[in-house]
Subunit: 134 residues, 2 copies
DNA sequence: TATAATGATACCATAGAAGTATCATTTGTC
DNA sequence: GACAAATGATACTTCTATGGTATCATTATA
């Protein structure tokens, strides 16, 4: 089971790279070179990050991407939500037909508790905190 | 994101039903009827549970399935492992090529901690504990 | 005005999950 | 012993999300 997908992971790496790169914007080309992410996939993903307010973009020669927020205002859970949708461990697998087994719904509560814990943890992981560790 | 797949969920329901059904074995036909699980899918899944030591099976007229263990010796994590493989939130997405960004591997540790918590919790959820609640 | 960059968008490939189909084998009952 | 009711084994199909590709339009700078 994957907590984060490859795309989220790529996005995280890209953001970390941009964060460490102090002067000016970072182009997709440079990110491809340094992070070995397939170019069209990275480009799409950067555009998404731009639209969702994580990055600023600058067209034209010398253009590229820069952070739109401080590194301690961007959290892992933001990226998960952007690329993987609302975080939930708990989606009932039986939305259509009524959940036929009342008993196992005690299970849903337990999973919900686990989910709450995981969300709290993910909420505490900022880009800033990841950069410090290295 | 799904913590448990539909198949795991079906298996859980089937086991709970069998557990509550005291006398004799429960046939696939009855489970289909009561749990509304597609018959061939359920049959396959019951066979798997048999092979993996969760259920005993009895062929022939009046045959069916019964639990191979006490309800407090079967855990949710067992079912997850049977149908979804080894539980891990932490699989490195970059096994082949070396993980190019050392910094983000601080992340791996954090995810590992979350994973440990989740596994502890899943380990504590037995079929028995689910049946009590209802 | 040429070029280096991003914006928008549509498409393709693969793998895992979910579900189906079929025939073989065993066992109880008449 | 024959038949019917059950499981055993196994191969196939379908659907969907993820991961990845391709192309053309637009913008900004030298």
């Amino acid at each position: 089971m994957k907590l984060i997908t490859r795309e989220t992971d790529y996005a995280l790496r890209a953001i970390c790279f941009i964060a460490r790169h102090k002067e000016g914007a970072v182009s997709a080309a440079e990110l491809v070179e340094r992070l070995k992410i397939p170019r069209p996939f990275l480009r799409k993903l950067l555009q998404t990050l731009g639209k969702r307010g994580m990055l600023c973009s600058h067209k034209g020669q010398g253009g590229g991407f820069s952070l739109a927020k401080a590194t301690d205002k961007i959290f892992l859970i933001d990226l998960i939500r952007i690329f993987q949708g609302r975080f939930s461990l708990n989606e009932c697998l039986f939305k259509k037909r009524a959940c036929p087994n009342i008993k196992t719904c005690g299970l849903r509560k337990k999973i919900k508790n686990i989910e709450n814990y995981v969300i709290r943890e993910l909420n505490s992981i900022s880009i800033g905190s990841l950069l410090k560790k290295g």
